[in-house]
């Protein structure tokens, strides 16, 4: 945990949870820009299923924190219309899983409008994702690969509180549709210093979360935390690249690290086949083959739905011990 929180402390900063940082980013942008508004299920009087918009109705009024009917297509579709007409909607999917009901609007309307007609669609879709709390197959998914197959969508997945704020502000200011994956397991378990006021983390730039010489773990979202904990416990020369953005991918940061260490482990909680790990393995094989000392390895969930019962879910989601084992194996190769 310390590895995550021990970042540079800016002049004005406060420690807050990942969840509070998301809330802070939204509040800052809504105070700064009257065109920003929120749209989602139960986000008004109730403050959202995870309380991200707690108190927003009191501060901004019900018109800027709209309780939507239970209709994800309507949330995304009306957000697209409002965006092309000059507003900046931030949609909340109550759970990332529910994006399936609004998928058509996202991938067919929002993603393609600029390519087809030159119309920018500045919407943000917040996606509370990930498992680990017996949410079962419909409240635990990591759907990022769905979006990566839809050209026109940007996809970000912060791992720290500071990035949660900085990437959300950047997403709101971006002229394109941005899928913002916020891992529910990080909401209250990750804390860190978060700059107050305006704080932007550029979309498309990875960060080196830990420096090392022997092996690179490339991760994002919840897997960054696992990688850092594993590296600390193993006390080896492990470098951890936190992707932060999945599209557009920071290829140079990945390749530079792998060229230095010669060994790459890609880790994510999402399922294995055709996922981010597969894409990165292909990228590294294409561009850094000569620098590799070992095959590129992946640590992911297997290709199954996320089961409900704790022992089953535990077996499916990558755990700290799995991460340590995967690192040890690759170091020994």
């Amino acid at each position: 945990m310390n590895a995550i929180t021990a970042t540079r402390t800016p002049a004005q900063a406060g420690e807050m949870t990942y969840l509070a940082a998301i809330s802070d980013a939204l509040r800052e942008e809504m105070r700064r820009d009257p065109t920003v508004f929120c749209l989602g299920e139960d986000i008004g009087a109730f403050g959202g299923a995870f309380k991200v918009t707690d108190g927003f109705v009191q501060e901004f009024g019900a018109e800027r924190c709209i309780d939507a009917p239970l209709a994800e297509g309507a949330i995304i579709g009306t957000a697209i219309g409002a965006a092309v007409a000059g507003l900046k909607p931030v949609c909340e999917m109550q759970f990332a899983d529910f994006i399936s009901c609004g998928f058509d609007q996202l991938v067919n309307v929002a993603a393609k409008l600029h390519y087809r007609q030159g119309i920018a669609v500045p919407i943000v879709v917040r996606l509370p994702s990930g498992g680990g709390f017996s949410g079962g197959p419909f409240h635990s998914q990591n759907p990022e690969a769905w979006f990566l197959q839809a050209p026109g969508l940007k996809v970000v997945a912060p791992a720290t509180a500071s990035d949660a704020k900085g990437l959300l502000i950047s997403a709101i200011r971006d002229p394109n549709p941005v899928c913002y994956l916020e891992h529910k397991g990080l909401y209250r378990h990750v804390k860190g210093d978060v700059p107050s006021g305006e704080h932007l983390v550029p979309i498309g730039e990875a960060r080196i979360a830990r420096e090392g010489e022997e092996l690179t773990v490339i991760a994002y979202g919840s897997s960054v935390r696992l990688a850092l904990l594993a590296a600390e416990e193993l006390d080896e020369q492990i470098e951890v690249v936190d992707l932060r953005t999945l599209c557009p991918l920071d290829r140079e940061a990945v390749l530079a690290s792998v060229r230095k260490t010669g060994k790459a482990l890609v880790a994510h909680e999402a399922t294995r086949s055709c996922g981010v790990g597969a894409e990165l393995a292909a990228l590294i094989a294409d561009e850094a083959f000569e620098d590799l000392d070992a095959p590129v390895r992946r640590l992911t969930a297997p290709d199954v739905p996320i089961p409900f019962s704790p022992p089953l879910e535990h077996a499916v989601l990558p755990q700290l011990e799995d991460m340590k084992e995967a690192i040890r194996e690759l170091l020994a190769y």
């Binding site: 579709g77 219309g81 007409a85 609007q105 920018a120 002229p175």
Partner: protein, 362 residues
């Protein structure tokens, strides 16, 4: 829909009301845009048959009164999502037949520059957001534009079109429900052209979709979709309600798709007598006749107008044919926007806007 004596009386009364709002030049315009739509689509069909149109070809033959009559009420700052049987609305808002034809041929000079084909376009400089093939989707986008007008307190209207086929899809319900909840300034123009591809009304719904409007909390009105002034009047009233904060309206225009779903569709599923019945109600011939019998136009004047429009479309076609194909390297450009650019305003030829200024509720 058969024309009964009662509906003839109703049509007549609607025309009388519309008469207050339409000048002689407006009426010439309504005919002009309908003829322009038909001539453009006929020209495009020829290009298709000559092998100059990749893919298939889709038109709105017989439905010209709907898109022209409805779009004619719009102010410049209003916004549209126009669908594939609604070329007339694009023409009213300022898209030239040449850019339409070039789009069909996949040319660089088409509205999408070859990125998308046929009627899948919207000119953002004219306040139009182009359709996707999932037809009811645009009802939500229009609702969203209307939401932005409402949140900013602007007296503007978002207008969109869809066929009765779209009303069977869940997205349509989401759009109507959302628009009703927030009393959005949206005008929903439903074109009941009797068939969703080959599926007839009786296999599409048990209750006519216009009846559903009141269950969403706003009025639904049915009009003769082959009477351009009836459509105009219903749309004028709906837009006026929307601008006045009274919420959306669903206008069902009864019409008939006189061509196949696409040029590849031989319409074997349509009874022949049905065509004959609707051919007699052709919106262009009917209106041309009415201009002479009711509004004092000379027959020669109407003929000349029709000839002039066709000559203009022919000139546009020649220009479209000169437009080059897009450069292959453009295929990978434009996926992401570098900056947000607002939509522009559409043309608003209705004399009301010149007489009373933009933004004034008619």
């Amino acid at each position: 829909m058969e024309t009964s004596d009662a509906s003839a009386v109703a049509d007549r009364r609607i025309r009388d009301v519309a008469g207050v709002h339409l000048t002689r030049e407006d009426r010439a315009d309504l005919l002009r845009y309908m003829v322009m739509m038909r001539a453009s689509e006929e020209r495009a069909l020829t290009l298709y048959k000559q092998g100059k149109v990749p893919g298939s070809f889709y038109d709105g033959r017989g439905q010209e009164a709907i898109s022209v009559g409805a779009a004619y009420v719009l102010a410049p700052e209003d916004r549209t999502c126009i669908l594939h049987r609604d070329l007339g609305a694009h023409l009213v808002r300022g898209v030239t037949p040449g850019r339409y034809l070039a789009n069909y041929m996949g040319r660089a000079g088409g509205v999408t520059g070859g990125k998308d084909g046929n009627m899948h376009f919207g000119d953002r400089r004219l306040g139009s957001v182009g359709m996707v093939s999932m037809l009811p989707d645009m009802a939500l986008v229009a609702a969203g534009m209307a939401l932005s007008f409402k949140l900013r307190g602007e007296p503007r209207v978002a207008m969109t079109f869809f066929g009765e086929g779209s009303t069977a899809n869940g997205v349509w319900h989401e759009a109507m429900n959302f628009a009703g909840i927030h009393r959005l300034p949206a005008v929903f123009v439903l074109e009941n052209n009797r068939f969703a591809y080959s599926t007839p009304n009786e296999l599409e719904f048990a209750v006519d979709p216009v009846e559903r409007a009141r269950t969403y909390g706003f009025p639904g009105v049915a009009v003769d979709g082959n009477d351009v002034e009836a459509v105009f009047e219903a749309a004028r009233e709906a837009a006026s309600r929307a601008r006045g904060g009274e919420g959306p309206t669903l206008i069902e225009c009864q019409t008939m798709r006189m061509h196949g779903h696409g040029a590849h569709d031989d319409m074997r599923y349509v009874p022949k007598e049905m065509f004959a019945r609707w051919e007699a109600r052709d919106p262009i011939d009917r209106y041309a006749e009415r201009l002479v019998t009711d509004y004092g136009f000379e027959p020669e004047e109407v003929d000349e107008l029709r000839r002039d429009v066709r000559a203009y479309v022919e000139e546009c076609a020649a220009r479209a044919l000169e437009s080059p194909m897009p450069e292959p390297e453009q295929a990978t450009e434009g996926v992401f926007a570098a900056a947000f650019e607002p939509l522009g305003d559409g043309r608003a030829p209705w004399s009301h806007w010149r007489r009373n200024g933009e933004g004034s509720a008619p």
